[in-house]
């Protein structure tokens, strides 16, 4: 994979939303951005919270911008980690990106042929609990990523 196309984004969003509906039994929005963080596509499932579309976009934007998954951004920028190596690096990020930086779990990079740092885009999800549990925004993102390799 060299770049994320609209067709790939549609496949990922469809898989994520189907997972959210059938397995997660909840409501979610899913967004896909390109390597520069520009929106390729975003969708809100019927019944999901109105703001979730925008949050999904900003989560995906944050991941593409940092080439770092949302869970890692969340730990980097958690004030409770101040004083640790992790926190000292991350606290300065708070408020960056004109307020768009969303350090919330539930967003994953889409990588290309060049390995883990060859980020060609990102997927973000909002609507479920944001943690790393079995039913979370992160799982919806994973369902989307898996659909790319079907």
């Amino acid at each position: 994979m060299k770049e994320v196309t609209l067709e790939m984004a549609e496949r990922m969003m469809d898989a994520g939303i189907r997972w959210a509906r059938d397995v997660g039994k909840g409501f979610a929005s899913v967004a896909v951005v390109d390597k520069g963080g520009a929106i390729i596509a975003a969708e809100r499932m019927d019944g999901a919270a109105p703001l979730s579309t925008e949050v999904a976009i900003e989560k995906a934007w944050s991941v593409a911008s940092f080439k770092t998954p949302g869970i890692m951004l969340a730990r980097l920028m958690d004030p409770r980690n101040a004083g640790s190596i992790l926190g000292d690096h991350g606290l300065g990020l708070i408020g960056r990106g004109k307020g768009r930086l969303a350090p919330i779990p539930g967003s994953i990079a889409i990588t290309g042929d060049g390995g883990a740092m060859d980020v060609i885009g990102a997927i973000g999800c909002s609507g479920f609990p944001a943690g790393m549990g079995e039913v979370s925004d992160n799982t919806v993102c994973q369902a989307g990523i898996v659909a790319l390799y079907d």
Binding site: L6, E7, A38, I39, A41, T53
Partner: protein, 136 residues
């Protein structure tokens, strides 16, 4: 009547089909009656700004229950509401053509915005998309 994701996807398909026919790369945004984003799609290699512009057009159409092109009327000092066109609520207000309210009879149920072609082309793509849903 509310706009469902299935309807939004149908509008996407109709819009992209028409855009391809006339050889344009565009973005399509669909919002609900509250102006909140339901779906947004950017065709491959369409300029990145088109996604945000399409979203703004859809928001404007839903929020004012008017085609986005008619916002210019509020710039006429003899019209009631003079100045609306310059107040940028929500950072989304735009007077550019290419945003239409989606109506079920008299009731506005959402908005659609298209960006990527000329303003006239964008409006036609919006109309094609709305037609595909069978409402109005």
């Amino acid at each position: 009547m509310v706009i469902t994701l299935a309807m939004a996807r149908k509008m996407r398909d109709a819009a992209i089909k028409y855009a391809k026919e006339i050889g344009k790369l565009c973005s399509i945004a669909i919002v609900d009656d509250d102006g909140r984003l339901i779906a947004l799609y950017r065709m491959d290699h369409a300029p990145i700004a088109t996604a945000d512009i399409a979203w703004s057009k859809a928001w404007t159409a839903a929020a004012f229950k008017l085609p986005s092109s008619e916002i210019y009327k509020f710039g006429n000092a003899s019209m009631p509401g003079f100045g609306f066109n310059t107040a940028n609520w929500n950072d989304r207000l735009t007077a550019i053509a290419g945003g239409l309210p989606i109506k079920d009879g008299d009731k506005v149920v959402g908005g659609i915005g298209v960006s990527g072609g000329t303003p006239e082309e964008d409006v036609i793509i919006c109309q094609e998309a709305i037609k595909s849903t069978g409402i109005e």
